[in-house]
Each structure stands twice: as C-alpha cells, then as structure tokens.
C-alpha cells in the first residue's frame, strides 16, 4: 500500500504533489511499512559516512548504469537491484542525496524509465536533513529481500536519443550546464575534470537555464511561482511544449526534467542523457557557440 502523500502546503502547491516530500514528513513516516528511503550521491562513499537511519544506498554509476554499454541497466538487473535493496513494485520510494538532489533526481528519472509507480524526492535532500540536525547513522541497513518483477524499460516517453534531438531542432531545448559550458568557453563544469568532449558550445536553439537555478540556497526547490518565472518568463516555455533537456551526461538535466515534469506539470519533457559528451563528440551535428541560443554573441 502506498504511504500517504505529504499535506505540506509547499508540496501541495506543485503540479504533482505525490512526487515530493518534506523533511518533516519523512521524519514522521520513517520506518513505516511500505516505505523505502534511498540515498544517491555524487560521491560513492558519502552514504557510508552517515545516512538517514534505515536508508539504502543507490549509486548512479555502479548500480544504475550498465557496466559495459553506455546505457542504463536492463529490466533483469533493475529487478535484482530493487529486490536486494528491499524495494517491491508497490513500495513507496523516497530518494534523497547531495548537491540539491542532483543525483537523487537522476535516480528518480531511471526509476521512471521502469515505470516504478510511487517514487518521490525529499525536498532539499541530504543537506536539508542535516541542516535540521536530524539523525544520521553509520549503521549498515540490511533490508529484507523483496521481490520485484522484471519490467521492460520504457525509454520513449522521457528519454531522447541523438536522432530524436536532431528531429527536434527548432523546438524547445533547455541546456542546464554552466554558462561557460553553454557558450563553449569550457568543455566541462568549472571545478570538475574534463570528461572528454572535443567541441564546445550548445545545441542550436537551446535556452540556457543552469539546473541549480531551480533550487534555493538550502537545496530545496523554489516556489512554483519562481519556477514559472524562470522557465516560462525567461526561457519562454509553455506547459504543452515538447521539451528536451540536456547537460553533460544527463544527470544535471534529470533535475530540470523533474522540475518541469513534476513541479510544473509539463507532460512532454524528455531528457537527452547522451548530452554534451555525445553531442560535443559527434561528427557533423550542428553546434552554436556564444551566449545566445542561435549564436552571434561575441562573434
């Protein structure tokens, strides 16, 4: 049975209030049957330094990515992963993590590829929980093994591939990387290692809205009015648009995918997980440099 949703007014103000919970809600429901809390971080050891009591770890790289092909795990591996972490198909899963839920949102997007019915984000993630002096533990969690059906991944509704993006040119695209990556000055995030793109710039027509603008300084999501002002007022999106979001490998853009899909309620948003590490290396795909969507700035 699904665990009740959060009645918090801020949570209720978003388009899909069943996809978000507050820290107070989680503290109240922790340990309830049917609820599994999972932490997903950039750093594979951060969970082990202290996590929400009873939570399990999900690593974006070692758990959710296929170890050989550049792709996500298939239905068989996902079912095994879920079973091992004590997650059943009817479990309510609450995901949280570091960096304003950057990696937790990525995990949520992967859960959505498998159509997991009830998966939610903890607003503010790890930092918000710690900021309120709520408990962490180093005690390992040992969930009872669950049974999870093998479900085929349904990529089409929320995942875009390179060919899809080429066919999408001229329609709304959001580039969520830093302004320097967008303009082509940098091939990687400031302060992060180069991950191998041969060309810099952005996909023609993409509007630049760095992902972190959707979050407050404390890591929680901005209000629905503020989000509308950013994505509709500044970036010019409409709720019925078909939108493709991208970043470098599809993780930062999962955060924006969550904002557009679940907080603003856009029904047609896809994440291009090939993102710049594919586009910036692909032969003869169009690229624009400079700070404007169609180029021109500084040239």
């Amino acid at each position: 049975m699904p665990v009740p949703t959060d009645p918090d007014p801020k949570v209720r103000s978003y388009a899909h209030p069943d996809r978000l919970v507050s820290t107070a809600w989680l503290a109240e429901h922790l340990g309830e049957p049917g609820l599994v809390v999972a932490e997903s971080d950039e750093d594979v050891l951060l969970y082990d330094t202290g996590h929400i009591p009873g939570s399990v770890k999900l690593d974006w790289h070692t758990d959710l990515n296929d170890p050989v092909t550049r792709d996500y795990v298939d239905g068989v591996r996902f079912a095994e992963l879920m079973a091992e972490r004590g997650i059943g198909r009817d479990s309510t899963v609450v995901l949280y993590g570091d960096k304003s839920n950057w990696w937790a949102a990525y995990a949520l997007w992967v859960f959505t590829l498998f159509g997991h019915p009830d998966v939610r984000l903890l607003d503010g993630g790890r930092a918000a929980w710690i900021g309120e002096q709520r408990p962490l533990t180093r005690d390992p969690s040992s969930p009872a093994r669950a049974s999870y059906p093998v479900v085929a991944r349904a990529d089409d509704p929320i995942r875009a591939f390179r060919e899809d993006v080429l066919a999408h040119l001229g329609m709304p695209l959001i580039d969520v990387r830093s302004p320097q990556e967008y303009s082509g000055e940098l091939l990687h995030m400031p302060d992060y290692p180069q991950e191998g793109a041969l060309r810099g710039g952005h996909i023609p027509g993409a509007a630049s809205v760095p992902w972190a603008r959707a979050a407050e300084a404390d890591g929680r999501f901005r209000s629905v009015e503020e989000l509308r002002a950013i994505y509709e007022g500044e970036a010019g999106l409409h709720s019925d648009d078909e939108v493709v979001v991208y970043c470098r490998i599809g993780e930062r853009s999962s955060h924006t995918w969550f904002v557009l899909t679940h907080l603003l309620g856009y029904p047609h948003v896809r994440n291009y997980d090939g993102s710049w590490t594919e586009w910036g290396n692909a032969v003869r795909v169009p690229i624009v440099q400079g700070s404007l969507p169609q180029g021109g700035a500084g040239e």
Binding site: V44, T62, D191, P193
Partner: protein, 151 residues
C-alpha cells in the same frame, strides 16, 4: 609483478585486493576518516597548496622532500568528498615518509591492483591516478632544485 611498492603501500594494496568490493569501500572510508589535518603552516593557506583538478571534488596537496630525501605529503579534502579523501588517505598512509626514489618508482597504474574499479567505477579512479602523478612531478622537481618545497 613489476616494480616493488614501498612496504606500507604494498600492504594496503594487499588489504584491498584480499577482500570483496563492499569491504574495499569500508577500507577506503577508514582511510578517509584517518586523513590527518593540515599542519599549521599549511592550514588556511590553500595558496601554498596545489589543486588537483582531475578530482571530482576539490582536493589540495603539498609535497615536501626533506634533507634525508624522504617525501612528506599533505592533503586537504572536504568531508563531503569521502572518496577523494580516501584516495588522499591511501597515498598518505602508503607514501608519507618514504624515500623519494621509492615514491618515484611506484607504477602509475598501481591503483589497478586495488580492485576498486568495480566498487567506485573507473571514472572516479582517475582522481587517484592524478594525485600520484602530481606527487611524483613535485618530487622530481624538488630533487632537481635541491629540496625546496613547492605547492
């Protein structure tokens, strides 16, 4: 086997290689916890330290070669980046106080023997390789210049 590793580093490699992947993460966490604080002359002076850009999280290091040609290593990495701290802890425990020549002889790919690729992913291991490369470059430069500390 290629070059022999300095004894403490060799022991660490054996510890890692001798256990399963989840325990390797625990070993790395211990090394992260045990990374010593910077001494007073470096604390709060990141301008004296070298930034390792290849790490996903900020990491700073300083390398000294003492008059006996032994290598002293100093690291700073935030607690929110335990993997990076763990790599620093591994190199600190394994190489601090070792003769410069032995440090230079550590194979660049020694980390492949730790069995961490499956536990932390090959991508994240690049930070460890980069730290070792920078340590060696500093040691080499100081041997040439006669032991002056460079950050």
């Amino acid at each position: 086997m290629s070059q022999p590793l300095p004894p403490t580093l060799a022991e660490l490699v054996e510890d890692f290689a001798g256990v399963q992947a989840p325990q390797r993460l625990q070993l790395l966490l211990e090394l992260s916890d045990e990374l010593p604080e910077l001494p007073e002359r470096y604390a709060g002076h990141t301008e004296l330290l070298e930034r390792v850009d290849e790490c996903a999280s900020p990491l700073f290091l300083a390398v000294e070669v003492d008059p006996q040609q032994r290598v002293r290593l100093f690291f700073e990495a935030p607690p929110e980046a335990p993997t990076t701290r763990g790599f620093a802890g591994l190199l600190h425990r394994g190489l601090d106080g070792e003769p410069a020549e032995q440090v230079l002889a550590v194979p660049d790919d020694f980390y492949m023997r730790l069995g961490l690729a499956t536990a932390v992913s090959p991508l994240r291991l690049r930070g460890l390789a980069a730290m070792l490369a920078r340590i060696k470059r500093n040691v080499r430069a100081q041997l040439v210049s006669g032991g002056e500390a460079t950050g």
